[in-house]
Symmetry: C2
């Protein structure tokens, strides 16, 4: 047996699943390793598969005709991604790139129906996931419409440490490599502005950051900045 069912039994998408059903589901999946910066799938490519991230972090990126890139989201361990099939799409609307070395489960689209019928609550869970992503994206539109750059960057960094933070001796660190350019592509600004603001925050002891690395040492103040309630 190649894959152990304990890989998926703890995940929300496969809650309430029996051990033997889990084995059957894993039998139809393929496990693969993607080294850092490898592309799991490419934007506009025909969507024949869907994926589950077992370990690592995936960056989902949309590229415009003129070449500008926007980071749609980061995928965390245990999340489904590339689920074009669930939305009735035939092509991937974005690319998925490994932010670090990753392990990924891959299914063919034709296994979708089997998963829906075999796993209780799978469909509901998936559609809730999509719904959550829609709400997150709407919130991002609101943030870009109503907040200025410093608040948006602070909010983005807060969200990253909340959902992918790792405690260290100097605060909470985003546990994958992330550049100024990446943060700029998440917030609709430039790497220059990100660099300037993060330098200022470092002066004030709010963050510690370096090459592709960001730690938050004073989450409280950073949250105040995100809400534009900081008392200078």
């Amino acid at each position: 047996m190649s894959l152990n069912n304990s890989l998926i039994l703890g995940l929300p998408a496969f809650a309430e699943l029996s051990g033997e059903d889990a084995d059957a589901i894993l039998a139809s999946a393929r496990s693969s390793r993607f080294p850092k910066n490898a592309e799991v799938f490419a934007q506009d490519e025909e969507a024949h598969h869907f994926f589950l991230l077992l370990s690592g972090h995936i960056r989902v990126v949309r590229t415009m005709p003129e070449g500008e890139q926007v980071i749609a989201r980061y995928i965390n361990e245990g999340e489904l991604f590339g689920i074009a099939v669930a939305m009735g799409r035939t092509n991937y609307p974005a690319s998925a790139v490994a932010a670090v070395d990753c392990v990924v489960l891959t299914w063919q689209n034709k296994a979708w129906h089997d998963l829906q019928s075999r796993v209780p609550g799978f469909g509901a869970n998936v559609y809730q996931t999509i719904g959550t992503r829609l709400q997150d994206t709407q919130s991002r539109v609101m943030e870009m419409s109503t907040r200025q750059v410093e608040q948006r960057i602070a909010g983005a960094v807060m969200r990253l440490v909340q959902q992918s933070g790792r405690k260290t001796e100097e605060g909470v660190e985003i546990d994958f490599p992330i550049s100024r350019q990446d943060i700029a592509e998440m917030t609709g600004t430039t790497l220059h502005t990100v660099s300037r603001l993060m330098s200022a925050w470092e002066e004030d002891g709010i963050v510690r950051s370096g090459r592709q690395k960001v730690s938050v040492t004073d989450p409280h103040t950073l949250m105040l900045i995100a809400e534009n309630r900081r008392t200078k």
Copy 2:
């Protein structure tokens, strides 16, 4: 019989539906009229119903804690809306307001399961709708990240006339009342900037507009502006 099944038989969400099934589905629905500016449901309110717009236009609005508003989308005739139940949400994430006098079909959430099992392709159609809305929202994020205000406004106006346009003798007119403020809330800018730019476009013979009314007389040039390819 209070509702005629021809009301819904032509709609994409109810494709491949038999006449008697349609009758049964309508029997579980309630039809109501909402005058202009009436609220169909309110943001954060518990979601007990979902809706289908039979006629009119609905504006979906999200309000921030500080009071700023953002228009998430406009709903056209024949579209489902307020489908929190399909995303596993218990509250509405936005408000829905009638942009003109509207006729709306309302179901209780408990009718959701019945519709899914009785109508072939209903589930797939709904999830495709949600998927499309997610992609649209992502595109909006990209647009706000990479284009400047004039291009964004041009793009928004083009989309409005494409999906809700009505031919008149002086071009294609958006067939519901829309103010400068509304357009600003769709594009993340201010009513002042919208007014200035639309005045300039009117000078150039690209649009004709007045109180809560916008007609596009030169769609080609407006599209060029949206793509930042206009030769001044």
